[in-house]
């Protein structure tokens, strides 16, 4: 099943005089269950692509379909709802709400979904244990290491059982060992739960784990290889 489809996806940033064509008519299809790494040099358009797929930004031209839905037709609140149910985000850093504990950070999307407290408790602990960070439950972000914070971010991204997790350079701020562990973890979630991952990265450790590697350069797809 095609989960993500882009059609002539184009993004042009313009600040007055200068125009930057960050994405140039990108056509892409990603099947459910894939483990995709989008690589490419800095400025090649990775973040732009991810933001457009996640509906955080609007394309200048072209379309994004998620599960067959043209997301440009969704209103702002509908898009928020769509993200809540279908998409998990993991950013480079500062993913977590500093005043909330690890548990509460992971719980937050479930609260927004209106899930009952007992059910929330069950699901949050299940995910935290799955990621082997159950003992961090009551810790605030500033009491955790960068790697631990990113694990909590993964937990928050998958706790709602989304179809897609979009991760933008999730290992950029981690040392290589922690980075490797995080990417292994994401792959495990991909296998165990069938969640589709789209990860932007130029980290070789991440690229090496890709199930499919898409190389971007100057806003176009330079190479697209599927390994498994």
């Amino acid at each position: 099943m095609t989960l993500i489809k882009t059609e002539n996806l184009t993004k042009i940033y313009s600040d007055g005089k200068v125009q930057v064509e960050a994405l140039k008519s990108v056509n892409l299809e990603i099947e459910a269950g894939e483990f995709v790494v989008v690589a490419g040099p800095s400025g090649s358009g990775k973040t732009t692509l991810l933001n457009l797929i996640g509906g955080l930004d609007k394309p200048t031209d072209g379309k994004v379909y998620l599960e067959g839905v043209d997301i440009s037709l969704l209103k702002r609140d509908e898009m928020a709802d769509f993200r809540l149910r279908k998409i998990g985000f993991i950013f480079q850093a500062y993913n977590l709400i500093p005043v909330l504990t690890a548990f509460e950070n992971v719980e937050l999307p479930l609260i927004l979904l209106g899930i009952s407290e007992s059910e929330r408790r069950k699901r949050v602990m299940e995910v935290l244990n799955l990621l082997e960070i159950g003992e961090l439950a009551d810790k605030k972000p500033n009491e955790m290491s960068g790697g631990q914070q990113q694990r909590v971010a993964v937990a928050r991204a998958i706790v709602t059982n989304p179809s897609i997790v979009l991760a933008d350079e999730p290992t950029a701020h981690l040392d290589s060992k922690t980075g490797a562990m995080l990417i292994d973890l994401m792959q495990e979630m991909n296998r165990k739960r069938g969640i589709t991952f789209v990860i932007c990265s130029h980290d070789p450790q991440v690229i090496q784990k890709a199930g499919r590697l898409i190389k971007l350069r100057d806003g176009t797809i330079e190479d697209d290889k599927k390994f498994w």
Binding site: D57, A80, D81, F82, R85, N95, V99, L100, E104, E107
Partner: protein, 403 residues
């Protein structure tokens, strides 16, 4: 959860939040004291007007209020007394003779209002009998009591003689000698300069009134009965009399009190604006510091209206916390003061002029209390609207670029 989030957020920058909380605490407690003192002062002004002379209800011959001359005397006071005795809500009543006149001492003279009263009955109507500061209350024939201020002006003391000069019922000049037997001091210095008291029989004789009286003054069991009792009496005694409440007689007091109540709003406005600016300020700072966080929340799928509500809630909580502490402090100060009163000695002169007395007992009304409860939380809400709009103005991508 949104409560937990909001509550923790407001304590992220403790010092900043505390500054606003303290400003609210100070505002609420100061407003509580100002407002209750003003209320107390107004109530005392009104009570003093009632207790000093006017009483709750007065009865006169029709036309007296417009033309306060002796010819408007009450011809058949027995009939009125009969009616008054049958009305349960009336606690006390007293008959009076009132006339303008001139008082002369060996040194000076002054225009006065001469009040002839039934000494024992009048004790229940006004506070004059309890306001004697020198000598004694009236009772004996040809004894007169004056305000201390007037006595000073006339340069007379207890035991001195004064002459009252009036124009009697027939329009002839009449005068008589009285002995000063007591001096009083009421809360109103203006009153003290004008009103002098003699026994009713002496007044009737001086004025050639025979056994006629000029007015009845009534005190009811409860002020709330005033209008109904007024109507009841008016119906019973007919059209040739006028029955007036203190409000009919002295509407200026009520108007003054209403004006004063409006002036109190200015205090609320000033404190409200000050607190409002503080709230806008800290909420804006707090929003700008958290731009990235809002980006994350939006990426997770939180809707703008939830984020908007979060900011309002944070500000509202600050308002509520400040208000609760402010009310507690204000009440702790207010409760003992409402028993002992506040001696505004430094303003004694002007307070005496207003007729409230120098010791003010603050009065906390339900209205003031609810005003105090709602003002600051409301202002905190209003003050957070602009910051809250700011918080949702950022597109998620822009917000996420903020660190």
């Amino acid at each position: 959860m949104i409560f937990k989030l909001a509550w923790r957020n407001i304590w992220r920058n403790k010092r900043r939040t505390l500054i606003v909380v303290v400003s609210i605490v100070v505002s609420v407690s100061v407003l509580l004291l100002i407002d209750t003192l003003s209320m107390g002062m107004m109530k005392q002004m009104l009570d003093n007007q009632i207790n000093l002379h006017i009483a709750h209800i007065q009865i006169h011959k029709r036309g007296f209020n417009d033309d306060k001359t002796l010819k408007n005397y009450i011809p058949d006071s027995e009939k009125i007394e009969e009616v008054l005795r049958q009305i349960d809500e009336i606690k006390f009543y007293s008959r009076r003779v009132i006339s303008y006149g001139l008082i002369n001492s060996a040194f000076n003279s002054s225009g006065v209002i001469i009040v002839g009263v039934e000494p024992e009955r009048e004790k229940n109507i006004t506070i004059i009998s309890r306001s004697i500061v020198e000598g004694k209350y009236i009772g004996e024939d040809r004894g007169i009591i004056l305000g201390k201020k007037l006595a000073q002006k006339l340069n007379v003391e207890i035991g001195d003689k004064v002459v009252l000069m009036v124009s009697d019922l027939n329009g002839n000049v009449s005068s008589d000698v009285f002995r000063v037997i007591g001096l009083y001091e009421s809360p109103s210095s203006e009153f003290d300069k004008v009103y002098v008291y003699i026994p009713i029989e002496s007044a009737q004789q001086l004025l050639g009134l025979g056994d006629k009286v000029i007015e009845f003054a009534l005190i009811l069991k409860d002020q709330n009965f005033i209008n109904s009792v007024k109507d009841k009496i008016a119906r019973a005694i007919g059209n040739s009399y006028e029955v007036l409440s203190y409000d009919d007689i002295s509407p200026l007091i009520r108007i003054g009190i209403e004006m004063y109540k409006e002036l109190i709003w200015i205090y609320y406005l000033i404190f409200g604006i000050a607190v409002g600016f503080g709230v806008v300020n800290i909420m804006l700072m707090s929003v700008f510091e958290r731009v990235r966080e809002f980006g994350v929340l939006k990426a997770i799928g939180m809707k703008n209206k939830k984020i908007f509500a979060l900011i309002l809630l944070e500000s509202f909580m600050i308002g509520v916390v400040g208000t609760i502490i402010g009310l507690v402090i204000g009440l702790v100060l207010y409760l003992p003061l409402s028993k002992t009163g506040v001696d505004l000695g430094i303003f004694a002169e002007s307070l005496a002029w207003f007729g409230s007395g120098r010791i003010i007992y603050p009065v906390l009304t339900e209205f003031t209390l609810s005003l105090l409860i709602f003002t600051m939380p409301f202002i905190s809400l209003i003050g957070a609207i602009y910051p809250a709009i700011k918080s949702i103005k950022f597109e998620p991508v822009e917000a996420l670029k903020h660190i």
